[in-house]
């Protein structure tokens, strides 16, 4: 269970091996979208971040190059243990999973034409899509009392899913508007 931390409470104590091990697990079972597993481990199991902090780091990744989950790995490692933490988290995320993935993938590359394989991939990807949608809905919960937040989440969703707008311009337009709206909102407790 996640226990939301009170303001002023000290950050959890996070060791380098814990960073290595946690990001190793996120990477190794990261089927169907690493964001699903990153939230499950970092927010629910370890309680290192709350939903808002998780969503903030994810947002930061929108403005940076590379996979969002790589940005999250660096940021979480760095937040708790500085440069050494960032390196431990990245090493956990990449070293062993890359080696295992490379070996399995090299094998798979010989069998990509098989229909059974394509069917299995289709099933995994249908479930993966559902997991990502549910993770997004969970991240929205800290904002559920804010109509304006739901509006901007809906606009971002529609812009990408229906209007098929390119990501970077979409973000560059919606984010300043969303921040401006938050400035004019009645302040929320906390």
């Amino acid at each position: 269970m996640a226990y939301p931390r009170e303001a002023g409470q000290t950050a959890p104590r996070v060791t380098l091996p814990a960073l290595f091990g946690t990001f190793l697990q996120i990477s190794m079972i990261g089927f169907g979208g690493p964001i699903v597993w990153a939230r499950r481990f970092l927010v629910e199991r370890q309680g290192w971040l709350d939903d808002q902090e998780f969503a903030e780091i994810l947002s930061l990744g929108q403005f940076l190059p590379g996979p969002n989950v790589i940005c999250m790995t660096v940021c979480v490692g760095s937040k708790f243990r500085g440069p050494a933490g960032a390196m431990a988290a990245v090493a956990g995320f990449i070293l062993i999973p890359w080696t295992v993935g490379f070996a399995i993938g090299a094998l798979f590359l010989h069998y990509t034409q098989i229909a059974l394989m394509q069917n299995i991939m289709r099933g995994v990807s249908a479930v993966g899509a559902g997991l990502i949608i549910a993770t997004g809905i969970r991240l929205l919960r800290p904002h559920r009392s804010r109509k304006i937040a739901s509006l901007f989440a809906a606009l971002a969703f529609a812009g990408l899913a229906f209007a098929k707008l390119p990501l970077l311009p979409l973000v560059l337009v919606l984010v300043p508007l969303s921040i401006a709206a938050a400035f004019y909102e009645r302040p929320i407790a906390g």
Partner: protein
């Protein structure tokens, strides 16, 4: 294609691409395809498509693995490893520097609205990503039902998602989707 020139050129190109890959690695795929397939003819279109399909079905850092497979086809294992580094080191370095700056900014008093305004947009994009994936794998009502069931189970129960992915693989393998 095992010339050192080709390998060096590929690594240089990957470094540039990874530094400008805003929107994640998938955003750099069209450019990379033009470069390695159409531009230099190092690998075929089919090779490229297979690399993409395979990394979707295996665990691990899949876009980094995809770059490694392309490097592997062009220059063997050393280039596979160099391609992995070219893909993740520049974004890691940039993330580290920006996060340092962001943490200092977070201590400022006026950051509340910025943080509250930033996240809803990202959350909408995450949900859209799931929706786009669902459409891509959608061949009928049964796969829509599977997607909806997975979302509902994750929201309402504590079932481990690995079981759901396993069930999806089984349903797909049996030809039910």
């Amino acid at each position: 294609m095992n010339t050192p020139g080709a390998s060096g050129t590929l690594i240089g190109h990957l470094i540039v691409l990874s530094m400008i890959s805003f929107g994640g690695i998938p955003a750099m795929l069209p450019d990379l395809r033009d470069y390695v397939v159409a531009g230099h003819g190092w690998i075929t279109d089919q090779d490229f498509a297979n690399c993409f399909a395979v990394v979707q079905a295996i665990p691990g850092p899949n876009m980094i693995l995809m770059m490694s497979f392309i490097g592997w086809k062009i220059g063997g294992l050393p280039i596979a490893i160099a391609s992995a580094f070219a893909t993740f080191v520049p974004p890691c370095a940039i993330s580290f520097v920006v996060f340092r700056w962001w943490e200092r900014f977070c201590e400022a008093r006026w950051q509340g609205p910025v943080r509250r305004g930033l996240t809803p947009v990202t959350i909408g994009l995450v949900i859209a990503g799931g929706y786009v994936m669902a459409r891509a794998s959608d061949v009928g009502w049964s796969s829509v039902a599977v997607t909806a069931a997975a979302a509902a189970l994750l929201l309402m129960t504590r079932v481990n998602p690995l079981w759901m992915l396993g069930a999806g693989a089984a349903l797909g393998g049996l030809g039910l989707l």
